[in-house]
């Protein structure tokens, strides 16, 4: 079955800022052609590499971010290259790029120059600070955007002599791509109705700045400032820790402590099943709570009995977690209705039976290597038009003949030429 964007033609100028948007589109069935310079995109030089050996076809970063796309090379320093790109864009629905503001205007490839060529074109540009703002020239990386965009302020340890910590992966770029995808699809649906193209200016810093949950709205609503804490939400006032090291050395998140009498009963039973009652004199508070009709959380810190019951609930989860392997705690807790989780490393997610059962790990063939490797799949199951990683990233210039060969003929026939 074809994907939901079957028939949507996308031209992408290879760049680390827009590659993920291209992947989201390509995995959804759009025909995405990524355009690289003849020597290859800079991203082909990004670690990690196959067998740790650098090489044009060996970057795992290139592999991941360019699945399901086709690839061509064009020399944009030449008239011919610009002309070919303009021909590609004349027949495209979407043009995406991550170039610094102003660069495409110099090449005659900005939206204003392209609009007469293709009035229905949707162009999406992803830049650190937008096309026109006071910081449009400011240099940035994923890390510095996480700093200026607010993520770093909230992530780190209780010990504030340790710097704020950035989460792994290029999450600032990803956040920009997510906003770009929402805006582009909205514009595509508008074009379905009204036929009009438009330009979409994606400000990655701004996207991060509104991906900060209570860090922003605590300030906006009540002027409160949150501060970072180990492994849990940054908060205006310190909160209790929620991570426990299990018997196998792995950590779990103990989630939300019991709130209802039923949950207290279930936790009491778990303590007994594990034979931990002798080490847990607070069991009596769990038993008090499970006999109530209702445990009024609002009375924590006000009513001594309620405070003790809720503290015992939290302590029981911590004790159990410290005595079990992380996975057993997760299954045992969830089977009893507690929202707890293992802190998996990325590779452990791919090996987990649930993710395998859903078919999330996806085998991708690399015929030139005579090998197949597991990639992360797509997070949504569309039962009428599935998204999928349909093929490995393109080799350098792999589709030059297929894409540009046909173009030359059409170009000659229609007489289109560079500006």
């Amino acid at each position: 079955m074809p994907g939901p964007l079957q028939g949507v033609r996308v031209i992408e100028l290879a760049h680390e800022r827009c590659c993920f948007l291209g992947k989201l589109l390509a995995d959804a069935g759009a025909d995405v052609v990524v355009v690289e310079p003849p020597e290859g995109a800079a991203q082909r030089g990004h670690e990690p590499f196959l067998d740790d050996q650098p090489g044009l076809e060996r970057s795992l970063s290139w592999w991941h971010y360019n699945t399901s796309k086709r690839g061509v090379t064009l020399d944009l320093a030449s008239e011919q290259g610009i002309g070919q790109l303009r021909q590609l864009l004349a027949g495209a629905d979407v043009f995406i790029d991550g170039e610094a503001p102003g660069r495409l205007a110099q090449l005659g490839l900005d939206y204003l120059s392209l609009q007469p060529l293709n009035p229905g074109l949707l162009m999406v540009s992803l830049t650190p600070y937008g096309q026109s703002g006071p910081e449009k020239e400011r240099p940035a990386t994923d890390l510095t955007l996480a700093a200026s965009g607010g993520m770093l302020w909230m992530n780190g340890y209780d010990d504030h002599s340790i710097p704020p910590i950035r989460g792994g992966g290029n999450q600032s770029f990803h956040t920009g791509a997510h906003y770009a995808m929402m805006a582009l699809l909205a514009a595509l649906l508008y074009r379905d109705e009204h036929g009009a193209g438009q330009f979409i200016d994606v400000n990655i810093n701004a996207c991060c700045n509104v991906t900060t949950e209570s860090g922003s709205y605590a300030w906006l609503v009540s002027g409160a400032v949150v501060h970072r804490q180990t492994g849990r939400h940054a908060a205006a006032r310190p909160t209790s820790s929620s991570q426990v090291r299990c018997s196998d050395g792995r950590y779990v998140n103990t989630g939300v402590p019991p709130r209802t009498p039923k949950e207290f009963r279930s936790l009491r039973d778990w303590v007994l099943e594990l034979g931990l009652q002798d080490e847990f004199p607070e069991l009596v508070f769990l038993e008090m709570a499970m006999e109530l009709e209702y445990v009024d959380q609002g009375k924590i810190g006000v009513d001594d009995a309620v405070t003790a019951m809720c503290a015992a609930g939290r302590d029981a989860l911590v004790l159990i977690a410290s005595r079990l392997p992380a996975y057993d705690f997760f299954r045992g807790g969830q089977d009893r209705g507690f929202s707890v989780g293992v802190i998996y490393s990325p590779e452990e997610v791919m090996d987990d039976l649930h993710f395998r059962d859903r078919g999330f790990p996806t085998a991708v063939e690399h015929p030139e290597l005579g090998a197949s490797f597991e990639y992360p799949g797509v997070p949504y199951r569309l039962n009428g038009s599935p998204c999928e990683v349909s093929r490995r990233a393109p080799l350098l210039g792999e589709h030059n003949e297929e894409v540009l060969g046909r173009l030359d003929d059409e170009g000659a026939a229609s007489g289109s030429s560079p500006a």
Partner: protein, 425 residues
């Protein structure tokens, strides 16, 4: 499809936003669900939020939760709820009664999309599973979003943001060697799961526009999180190198592509930090000019490879220097020399004191019936022809019952009043 307009809202309806022809029956809550329809409402979709009159919408715990604008408390006054539900309409329907169920069916018949983020199985229990939804409207789009998706051994398990982040690998990747995970100081995956949910709705509408067919999208938030560290996963599946190993993670330093220096360094002042990244040798040499000390010009740091090999020493020297510098002056001096650098900004600094944020009009003011005028999160994009717009705050409980049940579904005032009295709405 007719559009429900409000008296006095001409200015709003005159503005052309891209999704004005789309109507969504919104059963979502919290940020992971409500965030998705918030984005689509800002882009013009008519989002009708359906809540339970019996529990007064409490399923969404943010409804009455802090922060609050003043000393008032109540289910219409939650600051987070207002932030995540701007531009939506709100109705109440009691799905325990036959007439309530029939009313929801009537509403769904008028909608393009049904969106929800209940635990798996809840919609079937309510009588609105995928099979039933198709009977109500043959081309309906149904997007479900929960922690583990609707199939698989964990499908009935409960999650919230931090659990999704734990199970998807994100928490682990944020930290330092020999330390417990630092994780994420906020529900990154509530935001991001919401973005995927919005994307899922739009993908399905695009497909319907082409084929006339609806479909069910089963979105798993943990899978969404697991797509966000592809190179790390491939480093394991291709090279056999797990991320759980000695000296890993080191998330401020580790980077693909590898850079040095690359990290978060101390600056003058209490708990002040500046992120600095030298992408290549040119960046480093520009950085060394700003530092203007002999060690910075040392040959051992001249090339990327040797800087990476010696980054322990490099980071220590750099931190010794940055510690004495004013954070904003330092970041601006480096950025002015072409080196990516930024202060780890506080909420006030990035929201109120940031020229880029102001120029973008990133935090618009929304008018809420009870809370008044409150600033909220906008969108980090601008569309040249049909931009987003946020003017209205979140709906109070049942605020648009008359408008939606009357104007859209054709009930008379008497019928609406009678249903209210009978507990159906």
């Amino acid at each position: 499809m007719t559009t429900v307009t409000e008296p006095g809202d001409e200015a709003l309806t005159a503005a052309r936003r891209p999704l004005e022809h789309i109507r969504i029956c919104d059963l979502t809550g919290q940020l992971a669900g409500a965030g998705s329809t918030k984005a689509l409402a800002a882009l013009g979709a008519e989002v009708i939020r359906v809540e339970d009159p019996v529990r007064k919408g409490r399923w969404d715990i943010l409804r009455g939760a802090p922060p609050f604008v003043d000393s008032r408390r109540g289910l219409d006054l939650g600051g987070g709820f207002n932030n995540h539900n701007t531009e939506k309409k709100g109705v109440t329907i009691n799905l325990r009664t036959p007439r309530g169920k029939a009313l929801l069916r009537d509403l769904i018949r008028q909608c393009d999309v049904v969106a929800e983020n209940f635990a798996a199985g809840v919609m079937e229990r309510l009588g609105f599973g995928w099979e039933e939804l198709q009977k109500i409207r043959t081309d309906i789009i149904y997007v479900s979003h929960c922690g583990f998706g609707h199939t698989g051994p964990y499908s009935r398990y409960k999650t919230w943001g931090p659990i999704v982040q734990a199970m998807s690998g994100l928490t682990f990747t944020s930290g330092l060697p020999e330390q417990e995970p630092a994780g994420w100081g906020f529900s990154y995956m509530d935001h991001t799961g919401g973005y995927y949910m919005a994307i899922a709705m739009l993908l399905a509408i695009a497909h319907r526009n082409r084929t006339g067919e609806g479909q069910w999208v089963d979105l798993s938030c943990t899978e969404a999180g697991a797509t966000l560290h592809g190179p790390a996963i491939l480093d394991h599946s291709v090279n056999g190198r797990p991320m759980r190993r000695a000296e890993s993670p080191e998330s401020n330093r580790q980077n693909w592509p590898a850079m040095a220096p690359h990290g978060v360094y101390p600056a003058k002042g209490e708990d002040r930090w500046v992120a600095i990244a030298c992408r290549d040798d040119a960046d480093w040499h520009a950085c060394a000019e700003v530092i203007d000390l002999s060690w910075a010009r040392d040959n051992r740091f001249a090339e990327r490879g040797s800087r990476i090999a010696k980054r322990e020493a490099l980071d220590a020297l750099l931190a010794d220097w940055t510690r004495g510098e004013e954070p904003f002056a330092l970041a601006d001096a480096l950025a002015g020399a072409g080196v990516p650098a930024a202060v780890v900004k506080s909420p006030e600094e990035r929201i109120d004191l940031d020229a880029n944020t102001a120029e973008w009009e990133l935090f618009p003011v929304a008018e809420h019936r009870e809370m008044g005028r409150v600033r909220v999160d906008g969108l980090g994009v601008h569309l040249s022809e049909t931009d987003w717009q946020i003017d209205r705050g979140a709906p109070c409980l049942g605020e648009h019952n008359e408008q939606v049940f009357g104007d859209l579904l054709g009930l008379s005032s008497d019928e609406i009043e009678e249903m209210r009295a009978a507990g159906d709405i």
